[in-house]
Structure formats: structure tokens, C-alpha cells
């Protein structure tokens, strides 16, 4: 028990007066002696006497160690409690002004060092310790205050990770609450210029230490929050450079902590050095070790972004080059293909088939209608011409397409993607298929023409066909002899007759001569 002054001593000045024998004690005794002789004292006079004795007998300033009990805080802002140890206690009062300066929150059971004076509260005749400075015993006052506020805000959930808001990745404007002349803004500015110069920096200048700082910092944060939308502020940095615990103290004040907690903007704190952790850090959405670190956390890494863009650029170039090469290869392949080297080939092949069909028909015609060859060859010629034109027309398309491809400027070649090439191919396919279809139609028409030109139509025009008994067509009168039965076919019906004249000599009948166009050629 470290009692620097025992208040019990002051309790009985009357008893002690004789014992102490000090100068002041003797004075008091003298007065009492005088008082006892005559009229009684008023209470006020007595208490006044006691006060005087106390004032004279005790040092003006006493420092007492004890435990707080029965603490009360009326609305007045004064704080009352008893300071006690195992054997004694003394009522204690701490008036509002003194109480406001106490960083921590005094509570029952707390060991404290109280500094003040002893006096009598006259209205109650009560001896009282008037404290003007109270510090916790053991831990420093600031340390205790810190722990207390941290515990309180934690209990309120202000440090809850779930409350933390994300920091915008690409801020347009960054608010900074710090001193306009401190190291912090210099560091922040330098960092922002390097990393993210696109951001506008709005500095809300405040003192960052001293009595007025706490209120001004809190106000600046609230004002930034209130104007965030108007000014387009995305992120708020709150901080200051390094200093002593006392220098940084305002960032441990409840007012600043609450302003940060209530701020609508994401707040990054950057106070002091790496080792300093403040209440502001705990409430902030993101704690940065220093103001520089706060600027880093508030911004994207410009250099990394630059590298990223470079990489994207490389990927784009690489891909487009690959596609270009692929397109070129595909183009080369197609152009080198049989189809493109000889686009008419398929049409020609088809045309040949038409010729063959035509030839077959022609042969059949010749077989069945000897002598019709002349007209037939004309017709065949016409048909050939038609087919030729057709083929040529189709061929022109192909040739033009091929020419377009061949003539493509290398710069534009890349446009002929595999896709467009295959489209082109499809078109060409359609084209040739169309040509083939058209050719088939032509052949059919040709057959119809041939049909129309069959000998029966000739018969209708007044000609007739005469056959021998075996049905062989008679082409040469020399081969016919008397008595031979023949049949003459007309457009309608036939005439059976017997040939006049001498009978035939014994020899084989003549075969069909190679060509007898006269029969049909007469008209």
C-alpha cells in the first residue's frame, strides 16, 4: 500500500492538535481553547476552521493510490467515487473539466493514481479528495484508454469484418483527410502519381495532432461522406505520418473512430509507421501500415496494368497472325486444288456426257431413221451450240470467281477466310449442280425433239416406208424382184402388194447402204 498521504490523519484535528505539536496544530489548539471558554461556534465556523486547518496542515497537492469504488456519473459530467484500500476510504470528486481530460474510462475496482487536494465538502461536512488528474496504475493511461475503447467498439461490432466495404479498384477521385503540410500527403501524392495518375486527389486539410485535431478529423470525415457523391469521391484515406503515441492519439479517439464507422465511403487508414495500430485502423475498411501503403491499397498497380495491356496486345497480335496464316494456307490449298486450277473441268466433263448422250441418241436415230441424218446433224449442231453456250456461261462464273481469287491483293487475301472460301465453294457447287441440272433438262428437250422428228412424223407428211416380208426397209429397187410381197406403211395403215417383173436371181439381198438422205431430203 503506497499511501503518500493518509486522509485519516485529517479526520480528527482536535485529537491530533496536541499530539502533532506543529506550528499549524498549535494555532488551531489556541483557537479551540479560546472557543471553549465562551460562546459556542456555529457549524459553518467550525467547518471553516476545519478547512483552514486542513489547508494549513496538508500539502496543496497530494498523490494517492487506491481502488475505485461506488463510481457514479451524474448528468453534470462530474464523476464521484470512493478511493479505498483495505482499511480506509475517502470520498472523491472529479469535476467535469478534469474528467474530460481522462483518456480512459474509470470504473469500479480499477487501481488508480489520483492527484489532487483534500478539502471539506461543507454542505455535508464531508472530507473529500478533489481529483484533477487520474491515471490508471500499472498500464499507462493512453494504453488503458486504447484498450477500453477497443473493447467497447468491438462489443458494438464496429470491427466486424462483415462491415468492411471493398475498396474500388479503379478510383476516379480519392479523398484524403490529413495535414496539407505533413509527410503523409507528400507520400500519398508521390505514390498515386506513380500508380494511378488518372485519379483526382481531394485533400481535406486538418490538423493531425493537438487538442483540436480529433474534432476536426471527425468533421472532415463526415463532410467527405456527405459530399462523396457530389464530388465523385470513391475512396477516403485517413491518416498521418509517424510520431509518438501522443502525436497519433487523435486516431485513437472515439469521435474519429465513429466518424470512420459511419462514413458512407470505404475508408483506408494509414497512420504512423508499421508498428502503430490505432482504433481508426481497426474501424477502417482497410488498414494500411503507412500513408504510402494506404495510397497503394487505394489504387490499381499502373505498371502491372500496363504489362497486362501489353500482354493482351501480344495475344491479339499472335491470334490474328495465326488466323491470317491459316486463311492464307486455306486459300492456297483451295487455289491449288483441281477445282480452282481448272474450274471448267466439271462443266466440261458434264458437257462431254451431254455429247455422249447426244451421240447415243444420234446413233439410235440413225439406226431407226436412216436418211434423217442431215437434219439430225443440224439439230445436233444447234444442241451442241446451246450446251456450249450454257457451259461457257457457267464456266464464266467459275472463271470470274477464280480470277477474283487469283487477283486478290495479298493485303486483302486475309479476308478470304476459310469460312468465306467454303461459302464460295458452296456457291460454286450450287452453280455447277445447277448447270448439270440445266443440262439434263436440255437432254430431255433434245430427246423430245428427236422423238418429234421420228419417221412417223415423216409419214404424216405423205412419205411412206416399204418393207419386205421380213420387215427390212427397202432402199434400193434393184434389190426387189417380181413376185416379192412387200408392205408399204403409210401414216395411216399399210398397203400389202406384190411386185411385178421377173423373180429375183438367187443371191443375198443387199444390206442397208451407208447413207440415204434423199428420202427425207426431198421436201
Amino acid at each position: 500500500m503506497a499511501i503518500l498521504f493518509d486522509p485519516n490523519q485529517a479526520k480528527g484535528p482536535r485529537d491530533d492538535a496536541d499530539v502533532t505539536g506543529g506550528e499549524s496544530g498549535r494555532d488551531v489548539t489556541d483557537e479551540f481553547v479560546g472557543g471553549r471558554a465562551e460562546a459556542p461556534l456555529t457549524v459553518s465556523a467550525l467547518v471553516a476552521d476545519v478547512r483552514r486547518v486542513l489547508a494549513d496542515g496538508l500539502p496543496r497537492r497530494v498523490v494517492v493510490v487506491g481502488e475505485i469504488s461506488n463510481l457514479s456519473r451524474p448528468a453534470s459530467g462530474h464523476v464521484y467515487f470512493s478511493l479505498k484500500d483495505a482499511d480506509a476510504q475517502i470520498p472523491t470528486a472529479m469535476f467535469r473539466q478534469a474528467a474530460a481530460k481522462v483518456k480512459f474510462d474509470p470504473a469500479d475496482g480499477m487501481e488508480v493514481v489520483a492527484e489532487g487536494r483534500v478539502d471539506v465538502y461543507e454542505r455535508q461536512g464531508k472530507l473529500q479528495l478533489y481529483v484533477n488528474r487520474l491515471t490508471p496504475r500499472g498500464a499507462g493511461a493512453l494504453e488503458l484508454a486504447f484498450r477500453q475503447l477497443a473493447a467497447k467498439l468491438e462489443a458494438e461490432g464496429l470491427f466486424d469484418p462483415a462491415r468492411k466495404r471493398p475498396i474500388p479498384s479503379y478510383p476516379g477521385a480519392i479523398g484524403v483527410v490529413t495535414s496539407p503540410t505533413g509527410a503523409a500527403i507528400r507520400d500519398i501524392r508521390r505514390t498515386l502519381a506513380k500508380r494511378w495518375p488518372a485519379a483526382t486527389v481531394l485533400l481535406i486539410g486538418v490538423p493531425v495532432q493537438g487538442d483540436a485535431a480529433t474534432a476536426q478529423i471527425a468533421r472532415a470525415i463526415r463532410a467527405a461522406s456527405a459530399n462523396a457523391e457530389r464530388l465523385g469521391i470513391d475512396t477516403l484515406i485517413v491518416g498521418r505520418g509517424g510520431g509518438s503515441l501522443e502525436d497519433l492519439w487523435c486516431f485513437n479517439e472515439e469521435a474519429v473512430a465513429r466518424a470512420i464507422a459511419e462514413c458512407t465511403l470505404p475508408v483506408i487508414s494509414g497512420v504512423g509507421h508499421e508498428t502503430d495500430t490505432t482504433i481508426a485502423d481497426m474501424v477502417a475498411d482497410l488498414r494500411a501500415a503507412t500513408p504510402t501503403a494506404a495510397a497503394v491499397l487505394a489504387t490499381p498497380d499502373g505498371e502491372a496494368l500496363r504489362q497486362g495491356l501489353l500482354e493482351q496486345r501480344r495475344r491479339l497480335d499472335r491470334t490474328i497472325r495465326t488466323l491470317y496464316t491459316q486463311g492464307q494456307t486455306a486459300l492456297r490449298l483451295v487455289r491449288r486444288s483441281e477445282f480452282f486450277r481448272n474450274p471448267l473441268h466439271r462443266v466440261e466433263a458434264f458437257s462431254q456426257r451431254v455429247d455422249e448422250a447426244g451421240g447415243a441418241v444420234r446413233a439410235a436415230l440413225l439406226e431407226r431413221a436412216a436418211g434423217a441424218g442431215h437434219t439430225l446433224s443440224e439439230l445436233t449442231g444447234a444442241l451442241r451450240w446451246n450446251l456450249g453456250t450454257l457451259a461457257k456461261r457457267r464456266g464464266d462464273h467459275l472463271a470470274r470467281a477464280a480470277a477474283r481469287l487469283a487477283g486478290a491483293n495479298p493485303r486483302h487475301r486475309v479476308r478470304y477466310t476459310r469460312q468465306s472460301l467454303s461459302t464460295l465453294r458452296r456457291q460454286l457447287d450450287l452453280l455447277t449442280r445447277g448447270a448439270r441440272r440445266a443440262g439434263t433438262v436440255e437432254v430431255k428437250r433434245y430427246e423430245r425433239t428427236l422423238e418429234a422428228l421420228s419417221y412417223r412424223n415423216v409419214l404424216r407428211r405423205g412419205f411412206s416406208v416399204t418393207r419386205d416380208a421380213k420387215g427390212t426397209i427397202l432402199r434400193d429397187a434393184a434389190g426387189v424382184h417380181g413376185g416379192q410381197r412387200i408392205r408399204t406403211e403409210l401414216a395411216n395403215g399399210e398397203i400389202r402388194s406384190t411386185v411385178d417383173g421377173p423373180p429375183a436371181p438367187k443371191r443375198k439381198p443387199k444390206t442397208t447402204p451407208p447413207d440415204q438422205p434423199t428420202l427425207f431430203g426431198e421436201d
Binding site: 479503379y170 502519381a193 497486362g308 491479339l316
Partner: protein, 80 residues
């Protein structure tokens, strides 16, 4: 400012999409070329933002909890 921020973010996003779509090979060459040109434009835009000149720091004063007033610009950094 918010608009500029969005643009940068979107530009990056669009760029990423363009690069992937071209790389996937799922679009034709013609479209790829168009997208390539668009990608180059976005890269240029982003670079412009990154290479922006440092802006002056605007000084503000908190009159009260609600009011921020302009108080000029912070002096240039003297060192360097």
C-alpha cells in the same frame, strides 16, 4: 469521374472478352479482324488513362459535417 472509372473497368473487361473470343477461334476471320481493331482501340484508351499526367491536388476545407469548400490547390512537390 465515375464515368471514366467505369470506362476503364469496362474497357479492360471488353478487352479480355475480345481476346478470348478471338483466341477461341469460334468467330470468323472477318469478325476477328473487326474485334482485333476494337481491341487495339481499347488498349490505346487504357494506356491513355494510365499515362495521364499527374493531377493537381485539390484542397478542401470541411466547414462543418456537411459542407466541403474548395480552398485551392496544393503546391507542387518541391523535391524531385
Amino acid at each position: 469521374m465515375t464515368k471514366q472509372k467505369m470506362t476503364f473497368e469496362q474497357a479492360l473487361e471488353n478487352l479480355e472478352q475480345i481476346v478470348s473470343s478471338i483466341e477461341s477461334g469460334e468467330i470468323g476471320l472477318e469478325e476477328s479482324i473487326a474485334k482485333y481493331a476494337e481491341g487495339i482501340k481499347l488498349i490505346k484508351h487504357c494506356r491513355r488513362v494510365l499515362d495521364a499526367a499527374e493531377k493537381k491536388i485539390q484542397l478542401l476545407t470541411a466547414e462543418d459535417d456537411q459542407t466541403l469548400t474548395a480552398a485551392g490547390e496544393l503546391e507542387e512537390l518541391e523535391e524531385e
